[in-house]
C-alpha cells in the first residue's frame, strides 16, 4: 500500500547505466504468458507499488497503482455496487492491475462492456530513460497527444513500466441470468451472432461441450422479458460458471497442463476449423480456445496461424508448448520493423522484458 515509484525509477536508471535488462513482475500470476524469459534479467518488482490512489464512484473513475491486486479493486468497487466492467481474469490472488493491462486480459463480458484497453483513461509509466511520464487522464474523453495509455495493452511491458492506471468503472447490472441451450459448435456460433445483433441485454455468450450459454444482464424487467422470449434452460450457480470461465478454472482448462492452449482472436462468425481436439468458444464467437488431441504432438504453429488468418484474425500460444520459440502470431516484416522502432522510442537500450513478446523485440 505504498508509492515506491522513486525506487523503481532509481533501479531503472541504474539498469540503464549498466545496460542490465529487467524483467517486470507484478503478482507473478501471469509468468506463463509470453515467451520464456531470457537468462540474465534482473527482476523489477511492482508488488510493493500498490494501493488505490483515488476512486470517485459518481465520476465512474478509479485510479490505482499498477501493483494493486485486482481483488482489492473489486472489493472497493463492490462497496459502491460498481465493477471492473472488463471482468479481468484473476489467475491468482496476487494478480495486479498493471499486469492485466500489459497483457490486455478481459473476461466474458468484453464484447459488450469493453476490454481493459477500452476502459483505460490514463496511465503513468517509466520509460527506458527512467522518465516517469503521465499520459491520458482521469476523464472519459481526452484526445490531446497520442494515446500512449491504450498502446500499452498487449505490449507485455516491452514499452515501459506501468506505475499507475486510471480506469472507467461501471455500475453492476441490477440483475443477471444465464440461459443454456443444446447446440453444436456451428449452430451455437450462428445463434450467438444472431442474438448479439438483437437490441437485448446480452452480456456473455460461450459454447462448450455441446452447450451454449447466453448471459443476460441489466434491468430486472429487461432480463426477465428477454429470457422469456429466448427460452433455454436457466443455469444454476451461473455466477460461478462465468467466473470459472473468466479465470480459466473450468475443467476444459485443467487439461491444458498436458496439451498447449491456443487462443484464437477472430471474426466472431468464422466457422470452427475441422481439427482433432477440443474447442471452447467465448466472447460471442470472437475468442476461441483450442486444445490439441490427447496423446498427439503439439499443433504446428504455422498451421494454427493459417487457420486464424482464414478466420480474419490471429492466434497465440497462450499456455504450455514450446515457449522458447515464438508464441504470438507472426508479424509481416514491415510491422516487425515498425514495432522494433516503437520499442526503441520508449526503451532505447532494450531494458524491459527483452524477448518476452517476440524474440526480435
Amino acid at each position: 500500500m505504498s508509492d515506491i515509484s522513486s525506487q523503481l525509477q532509481e533501479q531503472i536508471l541504474t539498469a540503464a547505466a549498466e545496460k542490465q535488462p529487467l524483467q517486470i513482475v507484478g503478482g507473478g500470476t501471469k509468468a506463463f504468458m509470453g515467451r520464456q524469459i531470457e537468462p540474465g534479467q534482473e527482476i523489477l518488482s511492482l508488488a510493493g507499488h500498490s494501493g488505490i490512489v483515488s476512486y470517485h464512484p459518481v465520476e465512474l473513475v478509479l485510479t490505482a497503482r499498477a501493483g494493486t491486486p485486482l481483488i482489492e479493486l473489486e472489493a472497493a468497487l463492490n462497496e459502491h455496487n460498481q465493477m471492473l466492467s472488463f471482468e479481468p481474469p484473476v489467475f491468482g490472488e496476487t494478480a495486479t492491475l498493471g499486469g492485466t493491462l500489459a497483457c490486455n486480459l478481459s473476461g466474458p463480458g468484453r464484447p459488450w462492456w469493453g476490454s481493459v484497453r477500452d476502459q483505460v483513461l490514463g496511465i503513468k509509466m517509466i520509460n527506458g530513460l527512467g522518465e516517469h511520464l503521465r499520459f491520458g487522464g482521469q476523464v472519459m474523453k481526452n484526445v490531446a497527444g497520442y494515446d500512449v495509455s491504450r498502446l500499452q495493452a498487449g505490449a507485455l511491458g516491452t514499452l515501459g513500466v506501468l506505475t499507475e492506471v486510471s480506469l472507467k468503472v461501471l455500475p453492476k447490472p441490477s440483475d443477471s441470468r444465464t440461459l443454456v441451450f443444446e447446440a453444436g459448435a456451428d449452430e451455437a456460433l450462428s445463434i450467438m451472432n444472431r442474438r448479439a445483433a438483437e437490441p437485448k441485454p446480452l452480456s456473455g455468450a460461450c459454447w462448450l461441450d455441446g452447450k451454449l450459454y447466453l448471459r443476460l444482464s441489466g434491468a430486472h424487467s429487461a432480463v426477465a422479458s428477454t429470457a422469456g422470449y429466448w427460452g433455454g434452460k436457466p443455469l444454476e450457480y451461473a455466477e460461478d460458471f462465468w467466473q470459472q470461465l473468466r479465470d480459466q478454472q473450468l475443467p476444459f482448462f485443467n487439461a491444458a497442463s498436458e496439451q498447449p492452449l491456443w487462443r484464437f482472436s477472430v471474426n466472431p462468425t468464422a466457422r470452427i476449423p475441422r481439427l482433432d481436439g477440443r474447442w471452447l468458444i467465448d466472447w460471442g464467437g470472437a475468442q476461441r480456445w483450442y486444445l490439441g488431441q490427447e496423446g498427439q504432438g503439439p499443433a504446428d504453429k504455422a498451421e494454427m496461424e493459417r487457420l486464424a488468418a482464414a478466420a480474419g484474425g490471429q492466434v497465440s500460444l497462450f499456455r504450455g508448448g514450446d515457449r522458447s520459440a515464438e508464441v504470438m502470431h507472426s508479424q509481416p516484416e514491415a510491422m516487425q520493423r515498425l514495432q522494433q522502432r516503437l520499442k526503441q522510442a520508449f526503451d532505447p537500450d532494450g531494458l524491459f522484458n527483452r524477448g518476452r513478446l517476440y524474440s526480435w523485440m
Binding site: 464512484p57 459518481v58 465520476e59 473513475v61 455496487n81 490486455n104 468484453r110 464484447p111 484497453r117 477500452d118 487522464g137 476523464v139 472519459m140 474523453k141 484526445v143 490531446a144 497527444g145 497520442y146 494515446d147 500512449v148 491504450r150 500499452q152 495493452a153 498487449g154 516491452t158 461501471l170 455500475p171 450462428s190 451472432n193 448479439a196 445483433a197 438483437e198 437490441p199 441485454p201 441489466g218 434491468a219 430486472h220 424487467s221 429487461a222 422479458s225 484464437f264 482472436s265 477472430v266 471474426n267 466472431p268 466472447w283 478466420a311 480474419g312 484474425g313 490471429q314 504470438m328 502470431h329 508479424q331 509481416p332 515498425l338 514495432q339 522502432r341 516503437l342 522510442a345 520508449f346
Partner: protein
C-alpha cells in the same frame, strides 16, 4: 513570405502537379488559386493557409504514389476528409500537398451477422448508420457534424458525440484500419477479431491527427439499434443542483445513452432558435436519454423522473413519441447555430473536467467572462465531462478575436488545473498546440516526438499540428512571462487569417 519564395513555390507547384497528373485524373489535381481557395481551412476558419496543391486520388495505388513522390521530395502532406474539423487539423501547409480522401466514399461491405462494416475513409459518418439501418444496426459515435464529417476524419480525431458515456469514442468502435506509411508502404492494423497480438497500434493511430500515416480503409463495429429511446428534460434553478442530479443518476446505476447540460445563455439561445419548449427561466437544463429494451427504458425513465423531482427540478418533461424526442433534442443539437444568431461570431472550446468540478469551473468562467467583457454560453456533455464553452465575440471589432482566444486558452488551462484536459473530442491541431505544454511536460512531449519519428522521421505528415516542438514550448513560456522572444516570428499564430 518573400516574393522569391512565393515564385519558388509556384514553380514547384506546376512541376509537381504535372507529375501527379501522369497518374491521377488531371481534373483532380488542383493547382490554380481559385479552385484551391475552398481548401484553405477546415471548420475552424480563423486559421487558414493556401496549400501548394490539392490532390483527390481515387485508388489506394494513387495515394501510395502521391506519398512516395512527396516523401522523395520532402513535400509536406496534409490529409483531409470533409474539412469539418474544429481544431485546424486539416489546415494546409503553404509548401505542401492537401491529400483529399473525398473520392474514397464507398461502403465496401456490411456484415450484419458479424456486426461490422468495411468502409473507405471518405464515407460520411451518418452514411454508415443509414446503410446499416436495414439490418437493425448503426454506427455508435455521432459527432454533431455527422451528416457531413467523414469516418476517416473521425479516426484521425478520435471523434465523440453525445452518446460517448455509454457507447464510447471512435477508438472503442474500430476493429482495424489499412494504413499507408509516409513512404507509401501498406500496413494492416487490427483485424476482424476484437484484439491482436502485441502493443495496440490501432489505439495509437486513432486520434493521431494525420501525423502518423494515411488511413485508406476502416473496419468499424456496428451496434444493434436500441428498441426504444426516451428523453427526460429537466430545468433546474442552479447549475450545482443540475450537476448533482447527473451524479445521482450515475449513483442509481443508470448509464444514460445521452446526458447533456446547458446553461441559461445556451437555453435561451436554443429556445429562441428551435422552439423546443425549453424552460427559459431555468439556470440549467438537463437532457437525459435512456435507451435499451422497452422494459428497461420504462424502468429507468421512471427512476430518472422521480430523481429529478426529488432533487428539486423546476420542470420535468418526458418524450412520449419520436417527434417529441426529436423536438427536445433539436434545441441541444442546434445550440451552436442558435448561439451564432445572438452573436456575430462564436468560438467553441472543448475542454474536459471531472464532473464534480463543474460548478467551480462555471463560476470561474463567469468571473473571466466579466473580466474579458465577453459573454459565454455553455453546452456540456455532462455524462462524460466534456465542456463546450461558446465564447461570443465580434471579429470585426479590433482585438476582440485575440481577447477571445486568450479567454479560451485560460478556460483550457483551468480544465487542466482541475484534473481535466485541453480537448475531449475536437483534437489539438493548430488551435490548441499552445496549451499542450500545460497538459504535458517536456519529457512527455519528447516521448510524443519519438513516437512521431517512428512513423515519420522527416516530419512531413501534417507538420505543425498536434504536438509542439520543444523550441515552440520555450517560446510559449517566454511569451507567458511577457518576455519578447528572440526569434519573434514564431510567436505569431501560424496561419491566422485576417478575414478582411
Amino acid at each position: 513570405m518573400s516574393q522569391a519564395e512565393t515564385t519558388g513555390i509556384k514553380r514547384n507547384r506546376q512541376a509537381l502537379a504535372e507529375r501527379f497528373r501522369a497518374f491521377i485524373d488531371p481534373e483532380y489535381v488542383i493547382s490554380d488559386d481559385e479552385t484551391l481557395k475552398p481548401y484553405e481551412c477546415d471548420g475552424l476558419s480563423v486559421y487558414c493557409e493556401m496549400p501548394m496543391l490539392v490532390v483527390l486520388p481515387e485508388t489506394v495505388e494513387q495515394v501510395q504514389k502521391v506519398l512516395q513522390i512527396c516523401h522523395a521530395e520532402g513535400v509536406p502532406v496534409v490529409a483531409r476528409g470533409a474539412g469539418t474539423g474544429l481544431c485546424a487539423g486539416a489546415m494546409p501547409h503553404p509548401e505542401g500537398v492537401v491529400l483529399s480522401l473525398a473520392k474514397f466514399n464507398r461502403i465496401l461491405e456490411i456484415d450484419p451477422l458479424a456486426r461490422a462494416a468495411r468502409v473507405q475513409p471518405g464515407v460520411r459518418n451518418l452514411a454508415i448508420s443509414e446503410a446499416a439501418n436495414a439490418h437493425g444496426l448503426y454506427y455508435g459515435p455521432d459527432p454533431s457534424s455527422q451528416i457531413a464529417c467523414t469516418i476517416g476524419g473521425n479516426v484521425a480525431e478520435n471523434s465523440g458525440g453525445v452518446h460517448c458515456l455509454k457507447y464510447g469514442l471512435t477508438v472503442h468502435n474500430l476493429l482495424g484500419v489499412e494504413l499507408l506509411t509516409v513512404e507509401g508502404e501498406r500496413l494492416s492494423i487490427g483485424s476482424e477479431g476484437l484484439d491482436n497480438c502485441g502493443a495496440d497500434l490501432l489505439a495509437l493511430l486513432t486520434g493521431s491527427e494525420g501525423l502518423l500515416g494515411i488511413v485508406t480503409e476502416i473496419r468499424v463495429k456496428l451496434l444493434p439499434t436500441p428498441e426504444v429511446a426516451q428523453v427526460v428534460m429537466a430545468g433546474f434553478d442552479s447549475v450545482q443542483t443540475a450537476g448533482d442530479a447527473v451524479g445521482s443518476i450515475i449513483a442509481e446505476g443508470i448509464i444514460p445513452g445521452g446526458l447533456e447540460m446547458m446553461d441559461s445563455h445556451a437555453i435561451v439561445a436554443a429556445e429562441a432558435y428551435a422552439k423546443a419548449g425549453y424552460p427559459v427561466d431555468a439556470q440549467a437544463l438537463l437532457l437525459c436519454e435512456v435507451d435499451g429494451t422497452e422494459e428497461e427504458v420504462h424502468e429507468h425513465i421512471d427512476a430518472v423522473e422521480a430523481l429529478f423531482r426529488r432533487l428539486g427540478a423546476t420542470s420535468v418533461r418526458t418524450s412520449h413519441s419520436e417527434e417529441e424526442r426529436a423536438r427536445l433534442w433539436k434545441g441541444r443539437k442546434s445550440a451552436f447555430p442558435a448561439v451564432g444568431r445572438i452573436s456575430p461570431d462564436y468560438y467553441c472550446m472543448d475542454g474536459t473536467i471531472p464532473r464534480s468540478q463543474l460548478a467551480h469551473v462555471l463560476t470561474e468562467m463567469d468571473r473571466m467572462s466579466q473580466a474579458y467583457g465577453l459573454r459565454v454560453a455553455n453546452v456540456f456533455h455532462a455524462g462524460d465531462g466534456n465542456l463546450h464553452p461558446l465564447i461570443l465575440f465580434d471579429a470585426n471589432r479590433p482585438g476582440e478575436l485575440e481577447r477571445t482566444e486568450e479567454f479560451g486558452a485560460k478556460i483550457l488551462e483551468l480544465c487542466v488545473e482541475v484534473g481535466g484536459c485541453i480537448t475531449g473530442e475536437h483534437g489539438v491541431g493548430v488551435e490548441k498546440i499552445r496549451q499542450m505544454p500545460k497538459q504535458f511536460n517536456e519529457q512527455e512531449l519528447a516521448q510524443f516526438h519519438r513516437i512521431k519519428a517512428v512513423f515519420d522521421p522527416d516530419a512531413t505528415l501534417n507538420p505543425g499540428k498536434g504536438v509542439p516542438t520543444l523550441r515552440q514550448c520555450q517560446e510559449y513560456r517566454s511569451l507567458d512571462m511577457n518576455i519578447e522572444p528572440n526569434a519573434g516570428a514564431a510567436a505569431q499564430h501560424n496561419g491566422r487569417c485576417s478575414h478582411e
